[in-house]
C-alpha cells in the first residue's frame, strides 16, 4: 500500500489584478498512515494554500494549475462533488488558521458540531447530542453540557479553536489537516491539545498535516518536517535530523531565530534580514538567494534541484550540491 497522502508537484496560482500569483510552486511530499508531518516556513510562503488545495477549498480566484493529490491512492483533483463532500470533514478533518471566520456566527456550538456528525454518520439526533458533549469534553471545553448553546462570539479565541478541533475530529478522520491549530492558545491548553491530537493519532491511527510557526511544537510532535520558502519546498527531513543537522541556510536561520527563554537578547532578537520575495517578482534562481549569506553566482540564475542529500533528507541548495 502506498502512502496515505501523496502530493505531487502541486502548483496553485491566484489570478489577481496585479497578475498571476504563484502561491504554491511545485511542492511534493508524502504522509504515511499515522504519521505527523509538519509544514513550516515564512509567513506567506504558501502553507495555507497547500492545505486548502488538498481539500479543493480555494476561493474562485485560485486555481490548481498542475500536480496530483493522491489520498489513499485516489486523486482528489478528479473526485466529483459528492465524493469530495464525503472526504472533507469525513476522512479528512481540518482546522483552519482563523477560527472566527470559519465558525458560523448564527449557529450555536452544539448545532455546528451536530451538523457535521449527522452529515457523515448514520446516527440519531440523540446519539449525536451525546457525542457532541463527549467531543467538547475531549477538547477540554469547560462545562461541555452547558456550553452547547453558546454562540461563537460569546467565547474567547482559544475556546473557538477548541470547538474547531472538536468539529475536525468529530468523524474520526484518517488525516487531520491542522493549520496553526494552537496559535490562539496558551501554553497549557496548547499542551493539552497536542496531547489530544497525539491521543487521537494513536487511538485510531490518524495522520496529521500540521502547519505551525512554533518550532518547539514541531520538535515535540512531528515525525518529519517540510520547510517551505516562497512556494517551494527547500528542505525535508525527519525531525531530529532537521533540528540537529539542518542544511539549507534558510532552515538554519529559522531555527536560530527562535527566542530562547533562557537567553538575554538585549534589544534585538536575531532575525533574517530582508523579506520573502513578492509572489509576483520571484528571482529566477533560488528564491532565498537575496537573503542568503552563502550565495554563489549560480544561485541567482538557476533553481537548485530538490535532491536526496542522504536517505530521507532532501534539500534544494547549491551549497549542498557543491558539497559545502
Amino acid at each position: 500500500m502506498g502512502p496515505l497522502l501523496k502530493v505531487e508537484n502541486l502548483k496553485t496560482v491566484f489570478m489577481s489584478e496585479r497578475g498571476k500569483v504563484k502561491a504554491v510552486d511545485g511542492i511534493s511530499f508524502e504522509i504515511e498512515k499515522g504519521q505527523t508531518l509538519a509544514l513550516v516556513g515564512e509567513s506567506g510562503c504558501g502553507k495555507s494554500v497547500t492545505c486548502l488545495s488538498i481539500l479543493r477549498l480555494l476561493m474562485s480566484s485560485g486555481r490548481i494549475e498542475k500536480g496530483k493529490i493522491l489520498f489513499q491512492g485516489k486523486n482528489i483533483l478528479s473526485l466529483c462533488n459528492r465524493e469530495l463532500r464525503q472526504v472533507r470533514g469525513g476522512q479528512i478533518g481540518m482546522v483552519f488558521q482563523e477560527p472566527m471566520t470559519s465558525l458560523n456566527p448564527l449557529m450555536t456550538l452544539g448545532q455546528q458540531i451536530r451538523e457535521i456528525l449527522l452529515c457523515h454518520n448514520k446516527i440519531s439526533k440523540k446519539e449525536a447530542d451525546t457525542r457532541v458533549v463527549e467531543l467538547l469534553r475531549d477538547v477540554r471545553f469547560p462545562k461541555p453540557d452547558k456550553s452547547i448553546n453558546l454562540y461563537p462570539h460569546q467565547i474567547s479565541g482559544g475556546m473557538r479553536q477548541r470547538v474547531m478541533i472538536a468539529i475536525a475530529v468529530a468523524c474520526k478522520p484518517l488525516l487531520l489537516i491542522a493549520d496553526e491549530p494552537t496559535t490562539a492558545l496558551d501554553v497549557t491548553i496548547q499542551a493539552e491539545i497536542l496531547d489530544l491530537i497525539q491521543y487521537l493519532k494513536e487511538s485510531y491511527g490518524m495522520a496529521v498535516l500540521f502547519v505551525t510557526h512554533n518550532l518547539g511544537i514541531v520538535r515535540q510532535t512531528a515525525d518529519k518536517v517540510v520547510v517551505m520558502y516562497a512556494g517551494k519546498a527547500v528542505e525535508e527531513a525527519n525531525t531530529d535530523d532537521l533540528f540537529e543537522k539542518a542544511i539549507h541556510p534558510y532552515t538554519r536561520h529559522l531555527i536560530e531565530s527562535v527566542p530562547d527563554l533562557h537567553r538575554n537578547y538585549g534589544d534585538f532578537l536575531p532575525s533574517i534580514p530582508g523579506k520573502v520575495p513578492d509572489a509576483l517578482h520571484r528571482p529566477e534562481g533560488c528564491p532565498f538567494c537575496l537573503r542568503c549569506d552563502e550565495e554563489e553566482p549560480v544561485c541567482r540564475e538557476l533553481m537548485p534541484d530538490f535532491y536526496e542529500y542522504k536517505t530521507d533528507h532532501r534539500v534544494a541548495c547549491w551549497g549542498a550540491i557543491h558539497g559545502k
Binding site: E42, K143, N149, A184, V187, G216, R219, F243, H253, P259
Partner: protein, 322 residues
C-alpha cells in the same frame, strides 16, 4: 518617577450569558475581577494567562472599547468614564489596539489603502492628501509589506500578512499607548523577530507604552519590563519580568513556563495541570487556582490568599509564597 499612563482601580467586567437546552439558565461570567494596577510611561506591561482568562476584555476596557461594570480606568490622569465623546475621540488618537483576530477586525470590503487611511482622514485631514499618503507608505514599509499591498483586499493576504496590516493600522496615528493583543502569534519566528524589533524601536524612538498580550512566554520575557500572570480574571503574580521569570514563585507561573515546547530536546517533561478547565461563571472559592494547583492544601480551598507584596514591585497571590 515616570508619568502614569494607565491607572486601573477595582476594575470589574461581567458578561451575561444564556445557557442550558432552552436558554432557561441565565448566568454571568466574570471576565475581569477586581483588578488594580498602574502602567507608567515607557513601560511594556506583558500580560499572560490561559485562554479565556480575560486578557482581551481587560485590554479593551483600557481603551474604553468595552465599558466596565464597575471600577475606574484613567488614561494620563483623565477618567475615561467621565469623558464626553468629543474628548474621547481626541484621546483615541493617542491609544490604539492591534486586534487579536486580524481577519475579523479588518473590513473585508475595504482595500488596505482605505483601511490604513481611515484614522488618518479622521484626525489629520488638514495635513493634506500627500502627507497622508507618505505616512501610509512609511508604516507599510515599517511592517515589511510591499507597496502594491495597498490595492489588495484583506482576503488576498496570508494570515501573517493580515496581522501586519493590523499592526500598520495601529501605527498610522502615532499613538502613545498601544494595546497589542497577540500581535505576532500568526507570524513565523523570523518575521516575528522583525516585528518585535520594530515595536521596540518605535518605543525607544517615540517613548511608547505598551500593554503586550501574548501566550508566548519567551516573547513576553523579551518584550516586557513588567509582567502580569492572569488566571480567571485576576492576577496571580505581577512584577519586573526578570524577577518573575527567574524566581518562578507562583505555582501557575511555574506550570506555564514548564509547558513551553522546547526545541532542543524531544519528549520533554513538563508539569501537568490536573482538574477541570475553569470557567468564569463559577469561580472556585479560596484561591481560584486551587483545583488545578499541584501544591494546594486545605487553606487554599477556603481562604482567598489576597495580594501580597513579596519584593520590590513584586506581588503574588498564593498562601505559600512569602
Amino acid at each position: 518617577m515616570a508619568n502614569e499612563i494607565i491607572r486601573v482601580e477595582k476594575l470589574v467586567k461581567r458578561f451575561e450569558r444564556k445557557s442550558g437546552f432552552w436558554n432557561h439558565c441565565h448566568n454571568s461570567v466574570t471576565a475581569v475581577d477586581n483588578l488594580d494596577f498602574l502602567i507608567y510611561e515607557g513601560e511594556t506591561m506583558g500580560l499572560v494567562g490561559e485562554s479565556g482568562c480575560g486578557k482581551t476584555t481587560l485590554g479593551r476596557m483600557l481603551l474604553h472599547l468595552s465599558i466596565p461594570d464597575s471600577g475606574k480606568v484613567s488614561f494620563m490622569g483623565c477618567d475615561l468614564l467621565l469623558m464626553r465623546s468629543r474628548e474621547l475621540r481626541k484621546m483615541r488618537k493617542n491609544m490604539q489596539i492591534v486586534f487579536q483576530d486580524p481577519a475579523g477586525s479588518l473590513n473585508s470590503r475595504m482595500r488596505v489603502q482605505e483601511i490604513l487611511s481611515e484614522g488618518l482622514n479622521e484626525h489629520y485631514k488638514n495635513k493634506g492628501k500627500y502627507w497622508i499618503k507618505e505616512r501610509i507608505s512609511e508604516v507599510l514599509s515599517a511592517v515589511g509589506l510591499e507597496k502594491n499591498s495597498l490595492i489588495r483586499y484583506p482576503h488576498e493576504f496570508s494570515g501573517g500578512e493580515r496581522q501586519r496590516i493590523g499592526i500598520a493600522r495601529a501605527l498610522t496615528l502615532h499613538p502613545g499607548f498601544i494595546v497589542c493583543d497577540e500581535p505576532v502569534s500568526a507570524l513565523d519566528v523570523s518575521i516575528q523577530a522583525q516585528i518585535l524589533n520594530l515595536l521596540n524601536d518605535l518605543k525607544k524612538q517615540y517613548g511608547l507604552t505598551y500593554l503586550f498580550i501574548s501566550h508566548d512566554l519567551s516573547v513576553v520575557k523579551h518584550m516586557a519590563t513588567k509582567v502580569a500572570i492572569m488566571y480567571l480574571g485576576r492576577f496571580m503574580e505581577m512584577g519586573p519580568s526578570d524577577t518573575v521569570y527567574k524566581l518562578q514563585k507562583h505555582p501557575y507561573t511555574q506550570i506555564l513556563i514548564s509547558a513551553i515546547p522546547k526545541i532542543d530536546k524531544k519528549n520533554q517533561e513538563r508539569l501537568r495541570v490536573s482538574g477541570e478547565v475553569p470557567s468564569g461563571d463559577n469561580i472556585p472559592d479560596g484561591c481560584r487556582f486551587h483545583p488545578r494547583c499541584p501544591y494546594a492544601e486545605t487553606v487554599c480551598r477556603t481562604k482567598d490568599p489576597g495580594w501580597k507584596q513579596v519584593g520590590e514591585d513584586h506581588w503574588i497571590s498564593c498562601h505559600f509564597v512569602i
